[in-house]
Protein backbone atom coordinates (compact mmCIF):
# COMPACT_ATOMS: atom_id res chain seq x y z
CA UNK A 1 0.00 0.00 0.00
CA UNK A 2 0.99 3.57 -0.44
CA UNK A 3 2.64 5.55 2.28
CA UNK A 4 0.11 6.94 4.72
CA UNK A 5 1.58 10.42 4.85
CA UNK A 6 1.93 12.41 1.71
CA UNK A 7 3.89 15.60 1.14
CA UNK A 8 1.03 17.52 2.70
CA UNK A 9 1.01 15.28 5.73
CA UNK A 10 0.25 16.64 9.18
CA UNK A 11 2.83 19.00 10.58
CA UNK A 12 5.07 17.95 13.42
CA UNK A 13 3.26 17.44 16.68
CA UNK A 14 6.41 17.55 18.75
CA UNK A 15 5.58 21.00 20.17
CA UNK A 16 2.19 19.83 21.46
CA UNK A 17 3.66 16.62 22.80
CA UNK A 18 6.36 18.52 24.70
CA UNK A 19 3.84 21.01 26.06
CA UNK A 20 1.53 18.22 27.23
CA UNK A 21 4.41 16.24 28.72
CA UNK A 22 5.38 19.30 30.74
CA UNK A 23 1.82 19.70 32.01
CA UNK A 24 1.04 16.07 32.76
CA UNK A 25 4.54 15.19 34.04
CA UNK A 26 5.25 18.42 35.92
CA UNK A 27 5.54 16.66 39.25
CA UNK A 28 8.17 14.27 37.89
CA UNK A 29 9.99 17.18 36.31
CA UNK A 30 9.94 19.14 39.56
CA UNK A 31 11.26 16.13 41.50
CA UNK A 32 13.95 15.32 38.92
CA UNK A 33 15.11 18.92 38.55
CA UNK A 34 14.71 19.76 42.23
CA UNK A 35 16.69 16.81 43.60
CA UNK A 36 19.32 17.18 40.90
CA UNK A 37 19.65 20.90 41.65
CA UNK A 38 19.82 20.24 45.38
CA UNK A 39 22.68 17.76 44.97
CA UNK A 40 24.30 20.02 42.38
CA UNK A 41 24.29 22.95 44.78
CA UNK A 42 25.45 20.88 47.78
CA UNK A 43 28.28 19.23 45.83
CA UNK A 44 29.27 22.59 44.32
CA UNK A 45 29.83 24.29 47.64
CA UNK A 46 31.86 21.40 49.08
CA UNK A 47 35.50 21.79 48.19
CA UNK A 48 37.17 18.64 46.89
CA UNK A 49 36.69 15.92 44.30
CA UNK A 50 33.12 14.77 45.01
CA UNK A 51 31.70 17.48 42.71
CA UNK A 52 33.62 16.11 39.73
CA UNK A 53 32.85 12.45 40.39
CA UNK A 54 29.45 12.19 42.08
CA UNK A 55 27.43 14.82 40.21
CA UNK A 56 28.04 13.32 36.74
CA UNK A 57 26.97 9.93 38.09
CA UNK A 58 23.84 11.38 39.68
CA UNK A 59 22.67 13.42 36.69
CA UNK A 60 21.29 10.52 34.56
CA UNK A 61 19.24 9.19 37.49
CA UNK A 62 17.44 12.50 38.03
CA UNK A 63 17.16 13.15 34.30
CA UNK A 64 15.31 9.86 33.81
CA UNK A 65 12.83 10.80 36.52
CA UNK A 66 12.27 14.18 34.88
CA UNK A 67 11.48 12.57 31.53
CA UNK A 68 8.69 10.28 32.78
CA UNK A 69 6.01 12.83 31.81
CA UNK A 70 6.32 11.85 28.15
CA UNK A 71 5.48 8.25 29.00
CA UNK A 72 2.49 9.33 31.07
CA UNK A 73 1.09 11.25 28.12
CA UNK A 74 1.77 8.30 25.81
CA UNK A 75 -0.24 6.02 28.09
CA UNK A 76 -3.10 8.52 28.33
CA UNK A 77 -3.19 9.01 24.58
CA UNK A 78 -3.35 5.35 23.80
CA UNK A 79 -6.11 4.71 26.33
CA UNK A 80 -8.16 7.69 25.21
CA UNK A 81 -8.00 7.06 21.50
CA UNK A 82 -5.70 9.95 20.55
CA UNK A 83 -3.38 7.69 18.56
CA UNK A 84 -6.35 6.21 16.76
CA UNK A 85 -7.34 9.73 15.78
CA UNK A 86 -3.82 10.63 14.65
CA UNK A 87 -3.38 7.49 12.56
CA UNK A 88 -6.79 8.02 10.95
CA UNK A 89 -5.66 11.46 9.82
CA UNK A 90 -2.42 10.20 8.37
CA UNK A 91 0.16 10.54 11.15
CA UNK A 92 2.47 7.51 10.85
CA UNK A 93 2.91 5.41 14.02
CA UNK A 94 6.68 5.97 13.74
CA UNK A 95 6.14 9.72 14.00
CA UNK A 96 4.00 9.24 17.09
CA UNK A 97 6.73 7.12 18.66
CA UNK A 98 9.47 9.60 17.80
CA UNK A 99 7.39 12.55 19.07
CA UNK A 100 7.29 11.00 22.51
CA UNK A 101 10.95 10.12 22.46
CA UNK A 102 11.69 13.73 21.48
CA UNK A 103 9.46 15.02 24.27
CA UNK A 104 11.25 12.83 26.83
CA UNK A 105 14.60 14.20 25.59
CA UNK A 106 13.37 17.79 25.97
CA UNK A 107 12.27 17.13 29.57
CA UNK A 108 15.59 15.44 30.29
CA UNK A 109 17.46 18.37 28.78
CA UNK A 110 15.65 20.73 31.16
CA UNK A 111 16.96 18.71 34.12
CA UNK A 112 20.50 18.46 32.72
CA UNK A 113 20.86 22.07 31.63
CA UNK A 114 19.33 23.51 34.80
CA UNK A 115 21.54 21.40 37.05
CA UNK A 116 24.75 21.93 35.09
CA UNK A 117 24.27 25.68 34.76
CA UNK A 118 23.48 26.03 38.46
CA UNK A 119 26.28 23.78 39.65
CA UNK A 120 28.96 25.21 37.37
CA UNK A 121 27.78 28.74 38.07
CA UNK A 122 28.05 28.24 41.82
CA UNK A 123 31.53 26.69 41.45
CA UNK A 124 32.73 29.62 39.39
CA UNK A 125 31.10 32.16 41.70
CA UNK A 126 32.81 30.59 44.69
CA UNK A 127 36.11 30.61 42.83
CA UNK A 128 36.57 26.81 43.03
CA UNK A 129 36.86 26.37 39.27
CA UNK A 130 35.56 23.43 37.27
CA UNK A 131 37.90 20.43 37.06
CA UNK A 132 38.61 18.99 33.63
CA UNK A 133 37.59 15.55 34.85
CA UNK A 134 34.10 16.94 35.53
CA UNK A 135 33.71 18.10 31.94
CA UNK A 136 35.07 14.76 30.68
CA UNK A 137 32.70 12.81 32.92
CA UNK A 138 29.70 14.84 31.82
CA UNK A 139 30.54 14.43 28.13
CA UNK A 140 31.61 10.78 28.28
CA UNK A 141 29.14 9.50 30.84
CA UNK A 142 26.34 11.82 32.02
CA UNK A 143 25.00 12.93 28.68
CA UNK A 144 25.16 9.60 26.78
CA UNK A 145 23.91 7.70 29.82
CA UNK A 146 21.02 10.07 30.53
CA UNK A 147 19.85 10.19 26.90
CA UNK A 148 20.49 6.45 26.45
CA UNK A 149 18.66 5.53 29.66
CA UNK A 150 15.76 7.85 28.79
CA UNK A 151 15.52 6.36 25.29
CA UNK A 152 15.60 2.88 26.82
CA UNK A 153 13.04 3.75 29.47
CA UNK A 154 10.70 5.60 27.10
CA UNK A 155 10.87 2.89 24.43
CA UNK A 156 10.40 0.09 26.94
CA UNK A 157 7.58 2.06 28.56
CA UNK A 158 5.82 2.54 25.25
CA UNK A 159 6.22 -1.13 24.32
CA UNK A 160 4.97 -2.20 27.73
CA UNK A 161 2.01 0.15 27.62
CA UNK A 162 1.11 -1.00 24.14
CA UNK A 163 1.20 -4.64 25.24
CA UNK A 164 -1.10 -4.09 28.20
CA UNK A 165 -4.86 -3.63 28.17
CA UNK A 166 -5.44 -0.49 30.19
CA UNK A 167 -8.57 -0.24 32.28
CA UNK A 168 -10.87 2.66 31.57
CA UNK A 169 -10.00 5.74 33.57
CA UNK A 170 -6.62 4.43 34.58
CA UNK A 171 -4.18 7.17 33.86
CA UNK A 172 -0.78 5.64 34.15
CA UNK A 173 -0.54 1.85 34.09
CA UNK A 174 3.22 2.10 33.92
CA UNK A 175 3.77 0.08 37.06
CA UNK A 176 7.45 -0.19 37.88
CA UNK A 177 8.60 0.66 34.39
CA UNK A 178 10.10 4.07 35.22
CA UNK A 179 12.68 2.03 37.14
CA UNK A 180 13.99 0.89 33.75
CA UNK A 181 15.12 4.46 33.22
CA UNK A 182 16.39 5.11 36.72
CA UNK A 183 18.05 1.73 37.24
CA UNK A 184 21.03 2.03 34.85
CA UNK A 185 22.16 5.34 36.31
CA UNK A 186 21.51 4.23 39.87
CA UNK A 187 23.25 0.86 39.53
CA UNK A 188 26.20 2.47 37.76
CA UNK A 189 26.46 5.15 40.44
CA UNK A 190 26.60 2.53 43.21
CA UNK A 191 28.89 0.18 41.26
CA UNK A 192 31.29 2.96 40.24
CA UNK A 193 31.49 4.28 43.79
CA UNK A 194 32.14 0.77 45.10
CA UNK A 195 34.75 0.04 42.42
CA UNK A 196 36.86 3.06 43.30
CA UNK A 197 38.21 5.88 41.14
CA UNK A 198 40.19 3.86 38.55
CA UNK A 199 37.96 0.83 38.06
CA UNK A 200 34.86 3.04 38.42
CA UNK A 201 35.67 4.76 35.15
CA UNK A 202 35.58 1.44 33.30
CA UNK A 203 32.32 0.51 35.04
CA UNK A 204 30.77 3.81 33.97
CA UNK A 205 31.99 3.60 30.38
CA UNK A 206 30.88 -0.05 30.13
CA UNK A 207 27.44 0.86 31.45
CA UNK A 208 27.08 3.71 28.97
CA UNK A 209 27.98 1.47 26.04
CA UNK A 210 25.55 -1.22 27.20
CA UNK A 211 22.63 1.16 27.78
CA UNK A 212 23.12 3.05 24.52
CA UNK A 213 23.39 -0.25 22.64
CA UNK A 214 20.18 -1.56 24.21
CA UNK A 215 18.39 1.70 23.44
CA UNK A 216 19.52 1.60 19.81
CA UNK A 217 18.37 -2.03 19.47
CA UNK A 218 14.95 -1.19 20.93
CA UNK A 219 14.57 1.82 18.64
CA UNK A 220 15.61 -0.25 15.62
CA UNK A 221 12.94 -2.83 16.46
CA UNK A 222 10.26 -0.17 16.94
CA UNK A 223 8.11 -0.99 13.91
CA UNK A 224 8.32 -4.73 14.62
CA UNK A 225 7.64 -4.49 18.35
CA UNK A 226 4.88 -1.93 18.08
CA UNK A 227 2.63 -2.30 15.03
CA UNK A 228 -0.20 0.20 14.66
CA UNK A 229 -2.71 -2.16 16.27
CA UNK A 230 -0.79 -1.80 19.54
CA UNK A 231 -1.49 1.92 19.58
CA UNK A 232 -5.27 1.53 19.56
CA UNK A 233 -7.53 1.75 22.56
CA UNK A 234 -9.39 -1.44 23.46
CA UNK A 235 -12.32 -2.02 21.06
Amino acid sequence: MASSSGPEGPSSLLGSTVRRSFTVGRMNLVIGTGVSLLYGVILSVIPGGSFATVLPLLLPVMGSIGGIGAMLVFTNDRTKGVFEYLIAYGVPPQQIFLNFLGAAFVLLTVVNVTTLFAAVGIRLALGYGVPLVFAESVLAYSLPMSYGATALCTSAGMYWTSLSSPRQGMNSPLGLLPIVGVAPGLVTLLAAEAAGPTLGVYVAIGAVVLVVLLAVILLALESRLMPRERLLSPA
Binding site: M1, A2, S3, S4, S5, G6, E8, G9, P10, S11, L13, S16, R19, R20, S21, F22, T23, V24, V73, N76, D77, T79, K80, G81, V82, E84, Y85, L86, I87, A88, Y89, G90, V91, P227, R228, E229, R230, L232, S233, A235
Partner: protein, 300 residues
Protein backbone atom coordinates in the same frame (compact mmCIF):
# COMPACT_ATOMS: atom_id res chain seq x y z
CA UNK B 1 -29.95 -10.37 0.06
CA UNK B 2 -29.35 -9.54 -3.56
CA UNK B 3 -26.38 -7.64 -4.87
CA UNK B 4 -28.53 -4.58 -5.43
CA UNK B 5 -28.95 -4.32 -1.66
CA UNK B 6 -25.22 -3.94 -1.18
CA UNK B 7 -24.95 -0.46 -2.58
CA UNK B 8 -26.72 2.82 -2.07
CA UNK B 9 -27.96 5.31 -4.68
CA UNK B 10 -26.07 7.03 -7.40
CA UNK B 11 -28.27 9.93 -8.43
CA UNK B 12 -27.30 11.92 -5.36
CA UNK B 13 -23.64 11.10 -5.54
CA UNK B 14 -22.88 14.55 -6.93
CA UNK B 15 -23.70 16.03 -3.52
CA UNK B 16 -20.55 14.43 -2.11
CA UNK B 17 -18.47 15.54 -5.08
CA UNK B 18 -18.96 12.10 -6.56
CA UNK B 19 -17.04 10.53 -3.72
CA UNK B 20 -18.22 7.32 -2.21
CA UNK B 21 -16.77 4.73 0.08
CA UNK B 22 -16.65 1.08 -0.76
CA UNK B 23 -15.39 -2.17 0.69
CA UNK B 24 -14.42 -4.96 -1.64
CA UNK B 25 -14.07 -8.35 0.00
CA UNK B 26 -12.45 -6.87 3.09
CA UNK B 27 -11.10 -9.12 5.81
CA UNK B 28 -9.49 -7.31 8.70
CA UNK B 29 -8.56 -7.60 12.35
CA UNK B 30 -5.77 -7.23 14.86
CA UNK B 31 -2.26 -8.69 14.77
CA UNK B 32 -3.24 -11.42 12.34
CA UNK B 33 -6.42 -12.38 14.18
CA UNK B 34 -9.35 -11.93 11.83
CA UNK B 35 -12.42 -10.04 13.08
CA UNK B 36 -14.10 -9.04 9.80
CA UNK B 37 -14.55 -11.53 6.99
CA UNK B 38 -15.29 -10.73 3.37
CA UNK B 39 -17.18 -7.45 3.84
CA UNK B 40 -18.40 -5.83 0.62
CA UNK B 41 -20.59 -2.80 0.09
CA UNK B 42 -20.56 0.48 -1.75
CA UNK B 43 -21.97 3.78 -0.56
CA UNK B 44 -22.42 6.91 -2.63
CA UNK B 45 -25.69 8.48 -1.52
CA UNK B 46 -25.54 11.18 1.17
CA UNK B 47 -27.45 9.76 4.15
CA UNK B 48 -26.95 8.28 7.58
CA UNK B 49 -25.93 4.65 7.46
CA UNK B 50 -26.44 3.06 10.84
CA UNK B 51 -23.96 0.33 11.63
CA UNK B 52 -25.52 -2.14 14.01
CA UNK B 53 -24.50 -5.38 15.58
CA UNK B 54 -24.14 -7.12 18.92
CA UNK B 55 -21.14 -6.39 21.12
CA UNK B 56 -18.05 -7.98 19.60
CA UNK B 57 -19.60 -8.26 16.14
CA UNK B 58 -16.86 -6.11 14.61
CA UNK B 59 -18.42 -2.64 14.33
CA UNK B 60 -15.42 -0.78 15.73
CA UNK B 61 -13.09 -2.91 13.62
CA UNK B 62 -15.16 -1.99 10.56
CA UNK B 63 -14.86 1.72 11.39
CA UNK B 64 -11.13 1.41 11.97
CA UNK B 65 -10.70 -0.40 8.69
CA UNK B 66 -12.80 2.14 6.77
CA UNK B 67 -10.75 4.93 8.37
CA UNK B 68 -7.50 3.34 7.20
CA UNK B 69 -6.30 2.70 10.74
CA UNK B 70 -6.30 -1.07 10.27
CA UNK B 71 -4.97 -2.39 7.01
CA UNK B 72 -7.13 -5.14 5.50
CA UNK B 73 -5.62 -8.62 5.29
CA UNK B 74 -7.60 -9.10 2.10
CA UNK B 75 -9.66 -6.82 -0.09
CA UNK B 76 -9.71 -3.05 -0.45
CA UNK B 77 -11.32 0.00 1.07
CA UNK B 78 -11.73 2.67 -1.58
CA UNK B 79 -12.60 6.34 -1.23
CA UNK B 80 -13.60 7.78 -4.58
CA UNK B 81 -11.81 4.87 -6.24
CA UNK B 82 -8.51 5.36 -4.37
CA UNK B 83 -7.21 3.23 -1.54
CA UNK B 84 -8.00 4.71 1.86
CA UNK B 85 -4.37 4.48 2.95
CA UNK B 86 -3.41 7.33 0.64
CA UNK B 87 -3.30 10.77 2.24
CA UNK B 88 -5.46 12.16 -0.57
CA UNK B 89 -8.18 9.64 0.37
CA UNK B 90 -7.87 10.30 4.09
CA UNK B 91 -8.48 13.98 3.41
CA UNK B 92 -12.08 13.11 2.49
CA UNK B 93 -12.77 11.37 5.82
CA UNK B 94 -13.65 12.43 9.31
CA UNK B 95 -13.46 9.79 12.00
CA UNK B 96 -14.63 9.83 15.59
CA UNK B 97 -13.75 6.74 17.58
CA UNK B 98 -15.75 5.31 20.45
CA UNK B 99 -13.13 6.87 22.75
CA UNK B 100 -13.12 10.65 22.93
CA UNK B 101 -9.62 11.11 21.49
CA UNK B 102 -8.99 14.08 23.77
CA UNK B 103 -5.33 15.03 24.24
CA UNK B 104 -4.95 15.64 27.97
CA UNK B 105 -2.66 18.35 29.26
CA UNK B 106 -4.14 21.03 27.02
CA UNK B 107 -6.82 23.66 27.31
CA UNK B 108 -9.89 23.35 25.09
CA UNK B 109 -8.68 25.96 22.61
CA UNK B 110 -5.24 24.36 22.51
CA UNK B 111 -6.81 20.94 21.94
CA UNK B 112 -8.79 22.29 18.99
CA UNK B 113 -5.61 23.92 17.68
CA UNK B 114 -3.92 20.52 18.05
CA UNK B 115 -6.69 18.96 15.93
CA UNK B 116 -6.49 21.87 13.51
CA UNK B 117 -2.76 21.27 12.99
CA UNK B 118 -3.37 17.59 12.30
CA UNK B 119 -6.19 18.36 9.90
CA UNK B 120 -4.54 21.42 8.37
CA UNK B 121 -7.32 23.74 9.45
CA UNK B 122 -6.76 27.33 10.61
CA UNK B 123 -7.12 29.19 13.90
CA UNK B 124 -10.15 30.94 12.40
CA UNK B 125 -11.72 27.50 12.03
CA UNK B 126 -11.04 26.89 15.72
CA UNK B 127 -12.86 30.10 16.67
CA UNK B 128 -15.75 29.25 14.35
CA UNK B 129 -16.14 25.80 15.90
CA UNK B 130 -15.94 27.16 19.45
CA UNK B 131 -18.89 29.41 18.60
CA UNK B 132 -20.77 26.76 16.66
CA UNK B 133 -20.66 24.22 19.50
CA UNK B 134 -21.19 26.97 22.10
CA UNK B 135 -18.06 26.11 24.00
CA UNK B 136 -16.40 29.55 24.01
CA UNK B 137 -16.76 29.63 27.80
CA UNK B 138 -14.71 26.46 28.04
CA UNK B 139 -11.95 27.64 25.71
CA UNK B 140 -9.43 28.42 28.43
CA UNK B 141 -10.22 25.49 30.69
CA UNK B 142 -8.09 22.39 30.85
CA UNK B 143 -9.69 19.29 29.38
CA UNK B 144 -9.12 17.45 32.64
CA UNK B 145 -11.48 19.96 34.32
CA UNK B 146 -14.39 19.19 31.99
CA UNK B 147 -17.32 16.87 32.55
CA UNK B 148 -17.75 13.83 30.32
CA UNK B 149 -20.43 15.64 28.31
CA UNK B 150 -18.26 18.72 27.82
CA UNK B 151 -15.35 16.53 26.70
CA UNK B 152 -17.61 14.80 24.21
CA UNK B 153 -18.70 18.17 22.88
CA UNK B 154 -15.04 19.09 22.31
CA UNK B 155 -14.46 15.72 20.70
CA UNK B 156 -17.39 16.23 18.34
CA UNK B 157 -16.35 19.83 17.65
CA UNK B 158 -13.30 18.74 15.72
CA UNK B 159 -15.30 17.19 12.88
CA UNK B 160 -16.53 20.68 12.07
CA UNK B 161 -13.04 22.16 11.71
CA UNK B 162 -12.94 21.15 8.09
CA UNK B 163 -15.66 20.05 5.78
CA UNK B 164 -15.21 16.56 4.40
CA UNK B 165 -17.35 14.23 2.36
CA UNK B 166 -17.49 11.13 4.53
CA UNK B 167 -18.02 10.97 8.29
CA UNK B 168 -17.30 7.82 10.28
CA UNK B 169 -18.85 8.22 13.73
CA UNK B 170 -18.43 5.32 16.13
CA UNK B 171 -20.99 5.70 18.93
CA UNK B 172 -20.92 9.52 19.00
CA UNK B 173 -23.83 9.77 21.43
CA UNK B 174 -22.79 7.03 23.86
CA UNK B 175 -22.90 8.06 27.54
CA UNK B 176 -24.36 11.48 26.80
CA UNK B 177 -27.26 13.10 28.56
CA UNK B 178 -30.45 13.22 26.45
CA UNK B 179 -30.16 16.95 25.69
CA UNK B 180 -26.62 16.76 24.34
CA UNK B 181 -27.38 13.49 22.50
CA UNK B 182 -30.27 15.22 20.75
CA UNK B 183 -28.14 18.24 19.84
CA UNK B 184 -25.50 15.99 18.34
CA UNK B 185 -28.11 13.94 16.48
CA UNK B 186 -29.46 17.15 14.98
CA UNK B 187 -26.00 18.25 13.89
CA UNK B 188 -25.41 14.86 12.29
CA UNK B 189 -28.81 14.92 10.60
CA UNK B 190 -27.97 18.28 9.05
CA UNK B 191 -24.61 16.93 7.91
CA UNK B 192 -26.19 13.91 6.30
CA UNK B 193 -28.19 16.04 3.87
CA UNK B 194 -25.02 16.47 1.84
CA UNK B 195 -22.56 14.05 3.33
CA UNK B 196 -22.18 10.33 3.81
CA UNK B 197 -22.38 9.50 7.52
CA UNK B 198 -21.68 6.05 8.90
CA UNK B 199 -22.92 5.98 12.43
CA UNK B 200 -22.89 3.25 15.03
CA UNK B 201 -25.13 3.20 18.05
CA UNK B 202 -26.58 0.77 20.52
CA UNK B 203 -29.69 2.93 20.75
CA UNK B 204 -32.05 1.29 18.26
CA UNK B 205 -34.71 3.97 18.56
CA UNK B 206 -32.12 6.62 17.80
CA UNK B 207 -30.85 4.52 14.90
CA UNK B 208 -34.33 4.21 13.47
CA UNK B 209 -35.08 7.87 14.02
CA UNK B 210 -32.14 9.24 12.07
CA UNK B 211 -30.87 6.41 9.87
CA UNK B 212 -31.86 5.86 6.27
CA UNK B 213 -29.83 2.69 5.73
CA UNK B 214 -28.73 -0.06 8.05
CA UNK B 215 -25.49 -1.98 7.84
CA UNK B 216 -25.75 -4.97 10.15
CA UNK B 217 -22.66 -6.84 11.20
CA UNK B 218 -22.89 -10.25 12.79
CA UNK B 219 -19.89 -12.32 13.83
CA UNK B 220 -17.64 -10.26 11.58
CA UNK B 221 -19.75 -10.67 8.45
CA UNK B 222 -22.12 -8.34 6.68
CA UNK B 223 -25.56 -9.59 7.65
CA UNK B 224 -27.64 -6.88 6.02
CA UNK B 225 -27.34 -3.68 4.05
CA UNK B 226 -30.72 -2.18 3.22
CA UNK B 227 -32.95 0.82 3.64
CA UNK B 228 -34.39 0.87 7.15
CA UNK B 229 -37.87 1.49 5.77
CA UNK B 230 -37.67 -1.86 3.99
CA UNK B 231 -37.19 -3.74 7.23
CA UNK B 232 -40.22 -5.55 8.54
CA UNK B 233 -40.07 -7.02 12.01
CA UNK B 234 -41.23 -10.53 12.74
CA UNK B 235 -44.01 -9.00 14.82
CA UNK B 236 -45.85 -5.71 14.41
CA UNK B 237 -47.05 -4.52 17.79
CA UNK B 238 -48.72 -1.18 18.39
CA UNK B 239 -49.37 0.51 21.69
CA UNK B 240 -52.06 3.07 22.36
CA UNK B 241 -52.53 5.53 25.17
CA UNK B 242 -56.06 6.66 25.65
CA UNK B 243 -57.86 9.72 26.94
CA UNK B 244 -61.05 7.73 27.39
CA UNK B 245 -61.12 3.89 27.39
CA UNK B 246 -64.65 3.79 26.03
CA UNK B 247 -66.74 0.67 26.65
CA UNK B 248 -65.28 -2.04 28.92
CA UNK B 249 -65.09 -4.47 26.01
CA UNK B 250 -63.30 -2.07 23.70
CA UNK B 251 -59.80 -2.86 24.93
CA UNK B 252 -60.39 -6.51 25.81
CA UNK B 253 -58.07 -7.70 23.03
CA UNK B 254 -55.20 -5.55 24.27
CA UNK B 255 -52.60 -6.33 26.89
CA UNK B 256 -51.59 -3.65 29.35
CA UNK B 257 -48.00 -2.39 29.63
CA UNK B 258 -47.70 0.68 31.80
CA UNK B 259 -49.78 3.44 30.22
CA UNK B 260 -49.99 1.55 26.94
CA UNK B 261 -52.47 -0.99 25.64
CA UNK B 262 -50.66 -3.34 23.26
CA UNK B 263 -51.89 -5.35 20.35
CA UNK B 264 -50.13 -7.31 17.63
CA UNK B 265 -51.31 -6.55 14.11
CA UNK B 266 -50.58 -8.11 10.73
CA UNK B 267 -48.74 -5.00 9.60
CA UNK B 268 -48.89 -1.19 9.30
CA UNK B 269 -51.85 -1.48 6.91
CA UNK B 270 -53.95 -2.76 9.82
CA UNK B 271 -53.56 0.47 11.78
CA UNK B 272 -56.30 2.60 10.11
CA UNK B 273 -58.98 -0.11 10.54
CA UNK B 274 -57.94 -0.50 14.17
CA UNK B 275 -58.33 3.23 14.77
CA UNK B 276 -61.77 3.18 13.13
CA UNK B 277 -62.78 0.20 15.29
CA UNK B 278 -61.63 1.96 18.46
CA UNK B 279 -63.37 5.15 17.50
CA UNK B 280 -66.59 3.24 16.90
CA UNK B 281 -66.36 1.84 20.42
CA UNK B 282 -65.88 5.26 21.97
CA UNK B 283 -62.18 4.94 22.73
CA UNK B 284 -60.44 8.30 22.49
CA UNK B 285 -56.86 7.64 21.39
CA UNK B 286 -54.26 10.07 22.65
CA UNK B 287 -51.24 8.36 21.05
CA UNK B 288 -50.48 5.35 18.90
CA UNK B 289 -46.97 4.07 18.32
CA UNK B 290 -45.17 1.03 17.02
CA UNK B 291 -43.82 -0.66 20.10
CA UNK B 292 -41.23 -3.00 18.66
CA UNK B 293 -38.33 -1.93 16.50
CA UNK B 294 -37.49 -4.05 13.46
CA UNK B 295 -33.84 -3.25 14.10
CA UNK B 296 -34.08 -5.34 17.26
CA UNK B 297 -34.40 -8.44 15.11
CA UNK B 298 -30.89 -7.81 13.80
CA UNK B 299 -29.59 -8.66 17.25
CA UNK B 300 -31.30 -12.06 17.46
Amino acid sequence: MGNEALSSGNSLAASTNGLGISCRGVSSGYLGSKVLEDISFAISEPAIYVVLGPNGAGKTTLFRTLAGILRPYRGQVLIGGEEVDRQSSRDHLHYISHMDGIPDGLQVREALQFYARVERASNDDVDRVLNMLEIQDLADRYLSQLSAGQRKRVSIARVFLREREIYLLDEPTANLDPKLAREIRELILRLSQQKIVLYSSHNLFEAREIGRYVIAIKAGRLALFDRIENLRGAHFVVGIRVLNPGSPAALANFTRQGDYFLRELDGPEAVPPLLRELDAQGVQVRELREMNNPLEDLFT
